[in-house]
Symmetry: C2
Subunit: 320 residues, 2 copies
Amino acid sequence: MASILPASNTSMRSDRNTYVGKSFVHVKNPYLDSMDEDVLYHLDLGTKTHNLPEMFGDVKFVCVGGSPNRMKAFALFMHKELRLADSEEDIKDICAGADRYCMYKIGPVLSISHGMGIPAISIMLHELIKLLYHARSSDVPIIRIGTSGGIGIAPGSVVITDEAVDSFFKPRFEQAILDNIVNRRTELDKELAEELFNCSKEISTFPTVIGHTMCTYDFYEGQGRLDEALCSFSREKGLDYLKRAYNAGIRNIEMESTVFAAMCRLCGLKAAVVCVTLLNRLECDQINSPHDVLVEYQKRPQLRISKFIKQRLGLCDQTS
Amino acid sequence: MASILPASNTSMRSDRNTYVGKSFVHVKNPYLDSMDEDVLYHLDLGTKTHNLPEMFGDVKFVCVGGSPNRMKAFALFMHKELRLADSEEDIKDICAGADRYCMYKIGPVLSISHGMGIPAISIMLHELIKLLYHARSSDVPIIRIGTSGGIGIAPGSVVITDEAVDSFFKPRFEQAILDNIVNRRTELDKELAEELFNCSKEISTFPTVIGHTMCTYDFYEGQGRLDEALCSFSREKGLDYLKRAYNAGIRNIEMESTVFAAMCRLCGLKAAVVCVTLLNRLECDQINSPHDVLVEYQKRPQLRISKFIKQRLGLCDQTS
């Protein structure tokens, strides 16, 4: 099967990170360019089956989040906010064939789900970064819009992450490469975090803080809950752990931020994590707020990101 | 809000693991029984909002797998195989409200998706085990029906796991509990594996083996692929790792089996992992077989499990 990419594609790849004034998404894999075809299996896309530059070359913002329905809702929300001419019905899940992630494109905005946990988001990120690379995308910030458990802050607060830390409160991601463990750094982009924070100043109905985010490998034993199937520690020990986390500057807990920060850093993507907190873990373990309250909470980071995108696109009027 | 559970529920719980002849699903959490309500947040179920014993007390088989569509297809397949009287349209996703997992009940069979990776399946298992506990289920085998990368065996082969191992080929699952790491054992149930293997003897159209399954935290760097966004090792080193895995008795690689084995062992659930291999990793990295071939591969473990369930229920005739 012949490639549908232009003949100049290979030569463009080799030096494109050096173009003046543009920050291209790059991969760190010497083998990739020699592959005849790159199948992005879990996204149901590929370099021979799809014209990725044509489909995704104009992407200027990537937003990711765990839940497929939430990322669809965000896509529909952005469609409305950007006042695009095409119909809502035209917004289709680009990855439906693979049944692993969902992806929607709304003008220059890509909205993608990543499932729960480090492994799930890591697969999506490998394939998304290759997608942006093949599409020759440049200057693309990537923002994780998530839900989380808060520590010492009111439920419904939004946390913008400055640094993702692991279960030991360390700013690192331990990546297993074959049978070796490599530590990777997990700072998020400082300027982007501040830009997002300043956007939110005008939206005063709910509190927003900048703080550390702890990323764990599970929701129950790793986060000090007492309502799991297996619990081997006391209430006091669990609470002590959460208080130590608070004292270390951690304001919320989720399950994807370390690998997200590490991979985006290495591939030249300016990244941010913006999560709403669904409960205060110093007070309870279970998420049992009414459904409509939780739905409203989950819209809060979306409002913020929408404002940011519109500002960058010069679409904000004085009153919005 | 008053509990809809019978008044005898609490007293039943305390000694139910001692009933003669029945192996009840148990939790290892001294706090659980003192909770007024247990919200199974990611399953969209709870002890106050649902009558779990009535809904799930008759469950006799639990089958889990990564992809929501695959587990729906399995539910529809089992509905046909068990010749149940109710209509196909009655098979609804019980967890649709949470948008994280899907769950279908087909007579005594529960079919649930678990997403990709250890964290995602771990959340589902905590809530599923509590569900089976609250429902007072007994003698319930749980089978993971998955896809995987094979090592040294033909694509389309089915691997029944005897032992799940980590990236270092060790039969253990390292669970982070607060800021401690605890090692848990990862053997699968030997008798169940043999029963499933013997079921498959009569289905001679594709090979089935019993072997070790390696469980990694990601699909790319952790599995020695060369087609990821970040690759820091040579082709030779990656291949050497896979060959060492083969020599250690590993026949396939996936991303959930260690935590699945560890948690089921601790909670008295007899567990099996039955995965089809989509490619031979000693030959290639990318899954690029035609779609219809991959679809047929994915039906193979389902055929085997269906045969096993029908045999246990005494529904197999001589010729089937």
